[in-house]
Symmetry: C2
Subunit: 144 residues, 2 copies
Amino acid sequence: MITKESIFESHLKTKGLKLTPQRKAILEEVFASHEHFDIEELFANLRNKGKRISRATIYRTLPLLVESNLIKEAFRYQDKVSYEHIFGHGHHDHLLCIKCGRIIEFMDEKIEELQEAVCKKYGFKPTEHRLGIKGYCKKCISHE
Amino acid sequence: MITKESIFESHLKTKGLKLTPQRKAILEEVFASHEHFDIEELFANLRNKGKRISRATIYRTLPLLVESNLIKEAFRYQDKVSYEHIFGHGHHDHLLCIKCGRIIEFMDEKIEELQEAVCKKYGFKPTEHRLGIKGYCKKCISHE
DNA sequence: ATTTTAGTTGAGAATGAGTCGCAATTAAAA
DNA sequence: TTTTAATTGCGACTCATTCTCAACTAAAAT
């Protein structure tokens, strides 16, 4: 069975790296919720569970999770990078409320196709794409 | 006649600010080429033309140009923010080659419409959207 | 004309996210 | 048991960006 642990471990193996307790703890914490998260939150959550893992280790581990295709950088908001899961989640884009910070995920197959078509037109081989729409969510419009 | 100067000046006026020589020089330099630029480049270009304007002033001025709707943040690449013109240029999105750094601008009316539709669906009032596709450009694919 | 008032600037200090060097630690392989 | 190589935490460091502040406009008020 393919689990996030097995994916992570095999990626580490290809780089001659080990699945240490710290890396395992970070992996678990990352997948402990389904929310977007940033590094500072992750650090704090680990602390709250008594895991004293240094920021440096977290900063070193997240790129490994990204390379493993388990998570990805989702967007930036107020100069912080937010990450989200890939494992167990389909691709989607984001609406981001600039007033309350709410994040709405959406997925539009037609938009995806059109993006493909654009790439084809320019002979471009995409590896990643990101569509982010900033504005005001329903609640924040009505409370204005 | 509406010029970038008049737009900038009237925006400044609404905030009780003045169009100083420094701000004017920055405005001109920003529009001196049609390329994307980052702050360090702008600073260097001004220096090369003998204008010794401090980084602080540039950092203070760019947000004013953004508020004036003359320029906008286009994308981030290697932790640098790239800006581009709005004045005199239609909206477009970007293909960014992660090998050679080439930027291809594109615009797809259909994608724009679909984004509008998504916003409508969620009762979301968009103020800005950004679609960036990273990958390999034509040249970099064939040279691999 | 002189003074007030308020915005502006440059220099450098301060901030803060992210990175790096290093000595101590761990664990697998020999 | 020894060797070897990866790993960790700490704190120093970097680098973009922001802030502070004293000196400097320039327009408005007197």
